[in-house]
């Protein structure tokens, strides 16, 4: 049957072609993520380039006054960086101990049933939109603060730091819990065998053994706090200021970007370009922290078996 054979061959050829096309299309989907990164870097660098033709990098990075919308404008980004750091440090003071302690509880102590209730609750906490946290900061935490410290402004870094802290607790908890659970059972049993109590085993064997994972989770959480936008925009205010006083109004890098895009700053002006320069700085800092967390995880991991 020579005819049938020819048909089979054409059919096979058609199928092979189709397979190739499908593979190419799927590869294209995979490359979209690369294009996204390239797009982010190109846009930020290109637009910042225009900015840095008018303002020197040195002035931008070391200036202590940020007043791009006033006359005369000053383009020193330090007050914004300080604002972001103030919020991130405050949030870490809350989230890192609480997150680690609850991770230890969930991984080492909680009975199965309690864990089954607590885990979904933490997931809900993680899924609440950031604008809701902003609402909570402004209408609940700030009024509480003003009762205790009457001098507190309506907008202040402290209540922003508190809600950002609450927001990143689940992240610390879940990543640290994974790290604690990854510690093999025989390490714990060896510790018990030497006569250690459960407390001693947890604090001197399990936690040190999973330290790389815990620190990686800390770094990721802080990076998340630095990039947080809506809660700090609503709660922390819009006054770029170099201060260590958490009861004052400040402005973070993210909140500044939002402020400019809410206003009617004309496209192409130096004020408009500031958001790309600030965005580039924010992107570089968070990217560096994400890479650092992966490095810590890979470099300092204790490898078992």
């Amino acid at each position: 049957m020579p005819g049938a054979t020819t048909t089979d061959i054409t059919l096979l050829r058609g199928r092979r072609w189709r397979e190739r096309v499908i593979r190419a299309v799927l590869l294209g989907c995979g490359l979209v993520s690369i294009l996204t990164t390239a797009g982010i870097v190109l846009v930020l660098v290109w637009e910042s380039f225009g900015f840095f033709r008018e303002v020197s990098v040195w002035e931008f990075l070391t200036g202590t006054e940020w007043t791009p919308l006033f006359k005369p404008p000053h383009f020193g980004v330090l007050p914004l960086v300080a604002g972001s750091l103030l919020v991130a440090v405050g949030a870490s003071i809350i989230a890192l101990p609480v997150g680690l302690a609850s991770a230890i509880y969930l991984a080492e102590y909680a009975p199965g049933r309690t864990r089954k209730i607590l885990k979904p609750l933490l997931e809900i906490l993680a899924g609440i939109p950031t604008v809701v946290y902003g609402y909570f900061a402004l209408t609940f935490i700030t009024p509480l603060f003003r009762l205790v410290f009457p001098g507190t402004g309506v907008f202040n870094a402290a209540s922003a730091a508190i809600v950002v802290g609450i927001m990143i607790i689940p992240m610390v908890t879940s990543l640290s819990e994974d790290a604690l659970r990854a510690v093999p059972r025989h390490l714990r049993e060896a510790s018990y065998g030497l006569g250690a109590t459960k407390y001693e085993t947890v604090t001197r064997v399990v936690v040190p053994a999973s330290l790389s994972g815990i620190i990686a989770s800390f770094i990721l959480a802080i990076s998340r706090a630095l990039g947080e936008t809506m809660a700090v925009t609503l709660a922390a205010g819009a006054t770029p200021k170099l201060t260590l006083n958490p009861l004052e109004s400040i402005q973070t890098m993210t909140a500044y970007i939002v402020q400019v895009s809410l206003g009617d700053t004309p496209f192409g002006t130096i004020e408009y370009k500031t958001i790309f320069a600030v965005g580039l700085l924010l992107f570089s800092i968070t990217l560096a922290m994400n890479i650092a967390s992966r490095f810590v995880l890979a470099r300092f991991r204790e490898v078992y078996e």
């Binding site: 397979e19 993520s33 509880y105 939109p129 902003g134 609940f140 109590t197 809506m230 496209f267 965005g279």
Partner: protein, 289 residues
């Protein structure tokens, strides 16, 4: 003598242990109590404003007449298109990485890059969307520009979830397909993907529930804070629930704060039902395997 000392210390050691467990338990409880306080505060403020009018009215200068109709429709439009864009791209990328990708530097770069993208602050995606979709592609402040921006934002989540779902399909299924002479794509299309589908869908729903709450990137691309119409085409301007909430929270009047709380209740109900749907799907998947 030393035995007595040892016993004494063991007591103290045990006491430290108890204190430690309690401290850890309290820390966990703090997180849960905070969640309760947050939800309670929102319900207390917002319940009084929950009404049919809230859903059917456009925003207004007067709290009593204001509603979330435009925001609700805007959210549905944006999330719908976000899904339409991110689903094929995300699942396609996941299939490539799991089934086709050779073990070479390009695959490693793609995988590391996806992990990095997941950690990029959402506002940076807004900057990208503003420059690429709004300006360069001249989509303006449209639903499509917003959806494209959010699609890129949730893409890492979609890809990682889909990869896990595809990876969970047993090797034997693939061997069976290839063994009876099916091509790789036929095996995927008819055998692997149907099994992985519930898992993929679960990940997709969770990713969309992230998109529904995003505010900053949409403010960046210029979604409006006051909109008194619903979109009719993907190229129309829009607002979304979180932006409406942001707008109301940032006003000083208490009436608008109550409205914001009511809108938050609607948003949280939408989020919780999406999560519940995802959990139901996940459980059904577990039954099948």
């Amino acid at each position: 003598m030393s035995a007595v000392e040892f016993d004494l210390r063991l007591d103290r050691r045990r006491m430290w242990g108890h204190l430690f467990v309690w401290a850890c338990f309290l820390a966990t409880a703090v997180a849960v109590v905070l969640l309760a306080v947050l939800l309670f505060d929102i319900l207390r403020q917002g319940m009084g404003r929950l009404s049919v009018g809230l859903l059917s009215n456009y925003p207004s200068r007067f709290p009593d007449r204001a509603g979330i109709k435009s925001a609700l429709f805007g959210t549905m439009w944006v999330v719908g298109f976000t899904g339409l864009i991110s689903f094929p791209l995300g699942v396609g990328a996941a299939i490539y990485l799991e089934e086709y990708a050779p073990r070479n530097w390009l695959t490693r770069v793609i995988q590391v890059n996806i992990a990095n993208l997941a950690g990029v602050p959402s506002i940076v995606y807004g900057v990208l969307g503003l420059a690429v979709f709004v300006r360069a592609m001249s989509l303006g402040r449209s639903v499509l520009a917003g959806a494209a921006t959010l699609a890129l934002l949730i893409l890492p989540i979609v890809i990682i979830a889909a990869q896990e779902a595809i990876r969970a399909v047993p090797r034997s299924i693939r061997d069976a397909g290839l063994g009876i002479g099916a091509t790789q794509w036929q095996t995927l299309q008819h055998l692997v993907l149907p099994i992985a589908f519930p898992g993929i869908l679960t990940g997709m729903i969770l990713a969309l529930s992230r998109a529904i709450g995003e505010t900053a990137p949409l403010i960046m691309i210029g979604a409006l804070t006051f909109v008194a119409f619903t979109p009719n085409t993907p190229l129309d301007e829009f607002t979304v629930l979180p932006i409406q909430i942001f707008n109301w929270v940032s006003r000083p009047q208490a009436g608008f704060h109550e409205l914001a709380a009511a809108a938050i209740i609607v948003l949280l109900i939408a989020l919780l039902s999406m999560n519940a749907l995802a959990i139901v799907l996940r459980n059904r998947l577990r039954k099948d395997l």
